[in-house]
């Protein structure tokens, strides 16, 4: 008898009472709807801009013969590291070119490059702002933390809402997702410039802008280049997921392989390797450039 009473009581407090349950989705949904409608004219412009730039970039890259890419990658690897690196990168490029995925890889590459450039244009000033103004740091830091913990797929939702299906949405999501490391590393690079070197800059009578452009940014370049590298890698990882908002490219190839079950294993792996090789090639080249900016003891001279 007493057990039944207890059980009933327990059930009643375990359950969340109806009056405490809210529909949080509703307000968010209506806010986004309102936002999308009110600023439609802006998003149309953004979409148009992304579409035009990526389209032209794609046209330009498609016009270059495949072996020029192989050669360019070889030369870059050789000049920045050694001939072995050059050869390895050239072989990877050849694999991509001969894997019947050439055009898909190039359009993927276009979005990656586009995102990385936008990240650089927006991220660098934000990083500098953050290193110079405390309030900017106080606002940006939690936002960056949030951005880096948010599940990847979440980025697709606003992009989709605002721009609709297609490559502009993919590019937008990729850009937003890939930006935090560049901002962070720019901030880190500038704030870790040796105090004495900064003092020297001031002691010789530099203006704040001279200090920034002739002392701080050049001293931070290696770290900033590492930020560009991380941003590019994140962009590549995002571009595969961005297939969900209707972007073609290598990601689509992988998804279609997923749908094909066992028959898709070969297709999936080939596309997967193409993504990995693209990432390795970009990583090595950007790392090589970053090392050029290392003037510390034992670094490049």
């Amino acid at each position: 008898m007493i057990e039944t009473v207890l059980a009933t009581f327990w059930e009643s407090i375990v359950e969340i009472p109806e009056f405490l349950e809210f529909n949080y989705e509703g307000p968010i949904q209506s806010f986004v709807d309102w936002f999308a409608e009110t600023f439609e004219f802006i998003f149309e412009r953004v979409e148009d801009f992304i579409r035009r730039v990526t389209y032209n970039l794609e046209l330009a890259l498609f016009a270059i013969p495949w072996f020029v890419y192989v050669l360019a990658v070889f030369l870059a690897g050789w000049r920045l590291k050694n001939w072995k690196t050059g050869l390895a990168l050239a072989l990877m490029m050849t694999f991509i070119a001969t894997s019947q995925l050439w055009h898909l890889t190039l359009s993927t590459f276009v979005i990656v490059i586009f995102s990385a450039i936008i990240c650089f244009i927006l991220g660098l000033p934000l990083g500098i702002l953050m290193s110079k103004f405390r309030p900017a740091e106080a606002v940006l830091r939690p936002i960056l933390d949030l951005m880096q913990t948010l599940p990847t797929f979440v980025y697709l939702i606003p992009a989709l809402m605002l721009l609709g299906l297609g490559s502009p949405a993919a590019a937008l999501a990729t850009t937003i997702f890939a930006m935090p490391p560049l901002i962070r590393l720019t901030y880190l690079g500038i704030t870790t410039v040796s105090e004495e070197v900064r003092e020297a800059g001031i002691a010789f009578g530099s203006t704040p802008l001279q200090l920034l452009f002739k002392v701080e940014i050049p001293q931070a370049l290696k770290t900033i280049a590492q930020g560009i590298n991380q941003t590019t890698m994140l962009a590549i990882s995002m571009i595969v997921i961005a297939t969900l908002v209707g972007f073609g490219g290598l990601g689509a190839e992988i998804y279609s392989a997923l749908g094909a079950g066992r028959r898709g294993v070969g297709q999936g792996f080939v596309a997967g390797f193409a993504v990995v090789f693209l990432a390795i090639i970009l990583d090595r080249i950007i790392q090589g450039v970053a090392e050029r900016f290392d003037h510390s003891e034992g670094g490049e001279s």
């Binding site: 010789f204 001293q219 001279s301």
Partner: protein, 391 residues
């Protein structure tokens, strides 16, 4: 042109604005810096320091780490802003300057050499050296020319296009010095410039600085924690402890009248033979004869002063040698000219005691001390030297 530096009751306090304000009000109390920190949370790095540094002087501030010397030197180009007092360079007070005036001052009248060189590692040697002029909008041909001159002054010709990380520590600091000389400052601030270098290289750098100082007309403020370095370089020295100055004076004054036991302890390890110059402890000769003096008068003088010999100079006081009393007694000559035993064992009056030592040990009599023109200026007595070192 060199300028004088006059500091009046300058203090530097680090901390949050409210803490700084509270601590500033306690500076004239008799609380120790530690007590002030416990009370207010602010750190007193420099406390009521007053100094008068003359034009063209090489002034050294010495003290242990944490004594406030680096914080102090940074008030002279306002890398640290004092909370009180006056910082007069020439006839201008730094604390009254607008931002623009301060920038002009930093660009033209003062420059700094840093402990860890503070080179712009992304720039070549010459690009580092030209930096102070480059940011002033001087034409590139002009600043390249000035930079080359400065590089030549520190002896780095041929290294213009190397990167700093290709150079040794000593060479890097030469770049730092050259960079501080390109804008031809009136006041040169050197913050422990040689502390990061090997002892041997440090000596070379000190010698170079002394040579440069001789050639240029420049007020130099030099910071070090090394007492030997301080005494070797400084025209005058200030010893700092716990944010305050304990004693100011010439090297001799430090040895003669140390202000307290702390100073005594501090100078105990100083190698005096490397610091004391012959001129600091030489004595007047008991008698100097001129070669034209007669034997008779010389003999009388020697007997009167109870001396066994006398030094002999020519009419211009140029040192010639000595004459012993036995020679005089035996001689039939009119003057002492032909009796002089010529001697070239002399010591230059600006030499360090260390260099005089071997000559002194072998000398038959007190060692004659001469100036640059060979004129007799004094004598160095073995016993006096021993006494001076034993003090």
């Amino acid at each position: 042109m060199a300028k004088s530096v006059r500091i009046e009751k300058t203090s530097v306090v680090f901390g949050k604005p409210a803490q700084k304000k509270a601590a500033s009000e306690l500076l004239d109390s008799d609380l120790t810096p530690q007590e002030i920190r416990e009370k207010t949370g602010a750190t007193v790095a420099v406390r009521n320091v007053s100094l008068d540094i003359k034009e063209g002087e090489l002034f050294v501030i010495v003290g242990l780490s944490g004594s406030g010397k680096s914080s102090f030197i940074r008030t002279l180009n306002l890398l640290n802003r004092p909370v009180s007092g006056k910082t007069m360079i020439g006839d201008k007070d730094l604390l009254d300057m607008t931002k623009k005036e301060l920038r002009y001052f930093r660009r033209n009248e003062v420059s700094m050499v840093f402990q860890n060189f503070a080179l712009l590692t992304h720039r070549t040697v010459i690009e580092n050296v030209q930096y102070p002029l480059e940011i002033q909008g001087v034409s590139s041909s002009e600043y390249k020319k000035k930079a080359k001159e400065a590089i030549h002054m520190v002896g780095l010709d041929g290294w213009e296009d190397h990167m700093p990380n290709q150079l040794s520590g000593g060479m890097r600091q030469r770049v730092g010095l050259a960079r501080a000389l390109t804008n031809e400052p009136e006041v040169l601030l050197m913050d422990e410039p040689y502390s990061a270098l090997d002892p041997l290289i440090r000596r070379d750098m000190q010698d170079q600085l002394l040579k440069l100082e001789d050639e240029m007309d420049r007020t130099i403020l030099f910071i070090t924690h090394d007492m030997n370095e301080a005494f070797r370089l400084g025209d005058r020295i200030a010893l700092m402890k716990d944010a305050e100055i304990v004693q100011v004076g010439t090297p001799d004054e430090f040895f003669d009248k140390p202000a307290n036991d702390y100073v005594k302890n501090f100078i105990a390890d100083v190698d005096k033979t490397r610091i004391l110059k012959v001129r600091n402890i030489m004595e007047k000769p008991h008698h100097i004869a001129t070669e034209t003096d007669t034997v008779k008068t010389t003999l009388e003088k020697l007997k009167e002063k109870d001396l066994r010999f006398t030094y002999v100079t020519d009419a211009n006081r140029k040192f010639l040698g000595y004459v012993k009393i036995e020679q005089l007694k035996r001689s039939k000559s009119e003057t002492i000219k032909r009796l002089v035993n010529e001697d070239d064992t002399v010591i230059y009056r600006n030499a360090y005691l260390r260099e005089a030592w071997p000559k002194l040990r072998d000398a038959e009599y007190d060692l004659p001390v001469v100036d640059g023109k060979g004129r007799l200026r004094g004598v160095l007595d073995y016993d006096v030297v021993v006494d001076a070192l034993a003090e």
